[in-house]
Symmetry: none
Subunit: 198 residues, 4 copies
């Protein structure tokens, strides 16, 4: 019984993943995201989609959550475990660079059908809220410069994530990008350290 359920679960996720992939592809290619097209490109029947998701809204929410999960998890770990503020800040920058393809994908996703209103809410929940709290702690602990923690957080966000997205979409040749990335990361860390440390 448990084995059957396990297997079913496994296939279930396989199909759902395929659907997520299809939706992201459609979004990337600027094709309209219709149930017909999702079904066609996922090689399932339209009706099958409704065996996996109650309706289109539920499907799209699943896609959204799936894309966001890794980002949310990474930040949670970094910001909600104790330790040296500076080390954790650097860990945050590291993590952003590690998942920068996900971040890109995420933005390419959110860039389309979802509205900016939602994006701002999510940006807040996923990144800003923990980042602001983290800054507050750093300021109280005396490690960070004493300004409004929201401003500090926004500055970090802009410097790290903003830069990354900007550079992602500069569309350099892939070879060059890799070597650039190292330099860019160093620049960013240098800049952040310079601002934040007393």
């Amino acid at each position: 019984m448990a084995a059957v359920s396990k297997k079913k679960q496994w296939v279930d996720n396989l199909v759902k993943d395929e659907i997520v992939k299809t939706v992201l592809t459609l979004i990337k290619n600027e094709q309209p995201v219709t149930m017909d097209e999702i079904a066609r490109q996922s090689s399932v029947a339209k009706g099958t989609l409704y065996n996996y998701f109650k309706n289109k809204k539920a499907l799209m929410q699943y896609v959204h959550q799936t894309v966001l999960a890794p980002i949310r998890d990474a930040n949670k770990t970094i910001f909600e475990t104790p330790g040296d503020p500076i080390a954790r800040l650097h860990a945050f920058i590291d993590s952003v660079f590690c998942i920068h393809e996900d971040v890109s994908l995420y933005f390419q996703f959110v860039q389309k059908k979802r509205t900016v209103a939602n994006q701002i809410d999510e940006r807040f929940d996923i990144v800003m809220r923990p980042l602001i709290r983290f800054c507050s702690q750093g300021i109280q602990g005396g490690s960070f410069i004493d300004v409004d923690p929201t401003i500090l957080a926004e500055m970090i966000y802009g410097t790290v994530i903003g830069s990354l997205i900007s550079i992602q979409s500069r569309g350099d040749e892939t070879d060059k990008k890799k070597t650039d990335m190292k330099k860019i990361k160093e620049d960013i860390i240098c800049l952040v350290d310079r601002i934040i440390l007393k």
Copy 2:
């Protein structure tokens, strides 16, 4: 003839303004932005909309341009006229604070129906491109710290505009906001100066 044309132009703009207002209201109220509804709330016939705009896309673009114009203009003046980099940077921050209601409106607008993809493109055209060029000049002129100008620009954008939007939506009482704003602006300027100046 010229007079007639003038008058026509004048009425034309009056109607178009009414349409823009209607669209923004619809967006703000989270109502669906259909041609039917635009016509109804603008007290024009649906067919009339097509005398003013080729199709819905053209109408929406007009709305968009109308909202963005003041922001674009402000930035153009600041970044494309010569002068002391530091003074101009402060002017930019001033300008953002001056039009922060427009920025808010703009974001309330873009936050809804328009997609982030567009927002990023526009952010780039309207703010980032001139800001990056401005940073490059500052670096070359020796006034600014020598890092990737894109990163520098992102940092400024995040610190100034990101903070402003964040704080806007913190929803403090209006009275308190005004006095806060002064303090916040000072924090921001202090921070930006500290980072950017050699």
Copy 3:
């Protein structure tokens, strides 16, 4: 202005009548009553139906009301105006025979998509409720035999309307029907008088 509104109203009703006719035809021919088919046979576009009716349910309700109106009106007049009970009872039988084509059409309509539950409710509202009240008055006035008024009313309903529908669907040749009808009506009146009068 009033004239325009009048004309619009007139065309409006013309179209709606056409739609009602189409629906009844579809029902009679045992064809599925889909919006596509209603539109096709009414020679309007599918979308046009939605200019006249909010959705399919509203359309079907309109059809229903249209068919029922004459029956409801006839009964109202007869049962809600004072006068000799026996004369009014005969008037009711007359009216049923007069509109028996409508009654037939109504039943041919209701026989299909609508459920019997609804039919019973409507039968009650339109015919039974006034008929029961009428019987109560007749009993109290001493004109009618003293039994449960509901039973009396059911008996009348069965004898008059039941018979009519039964005979309608016996499917005799039309010529013969007419002469029959006279005889049948006489039989019915005779029977009802015999039972009901003290």
Copy 4:
């Protein structure tokens, strides 16, 4: 082999009965009667339904027949065995009162999903056809008044069954109902006798 077949038959009927029960429950609760739901509430797999019934239509017909069988049988016995017409008429009334819960169930069933067209056909097959034939015999035998036998039958049907259903749904308190029923039955018999006997 015969034993196996017997057992199979037995299980078969058990399952079918469960399905009938489920369908009636769905109908009573005004839930949509889909194969999915029938399967779920009967604790059988959807595919299994198709081992018992060729398709949905066959399934629904089986349900229908199952519900109708007792009513049909009762009438058959009464109307198709010889004997005194008046005694048999009273036996019919008795039988209707005995199975009035079944009649109710039947109507609660037919009242919902099934269409009136079907109801009328069945009413005809199960009750009216034998009743009309019975009336003809009564008239020819000189026991009953000489009018159109169809009218006579409709009158009896209306008086007996119509009244019963009407009263069923009057929704009195259960205690009172029982005593009422006796009085009502007497009223009905009195009325029917009065009409029908010469």
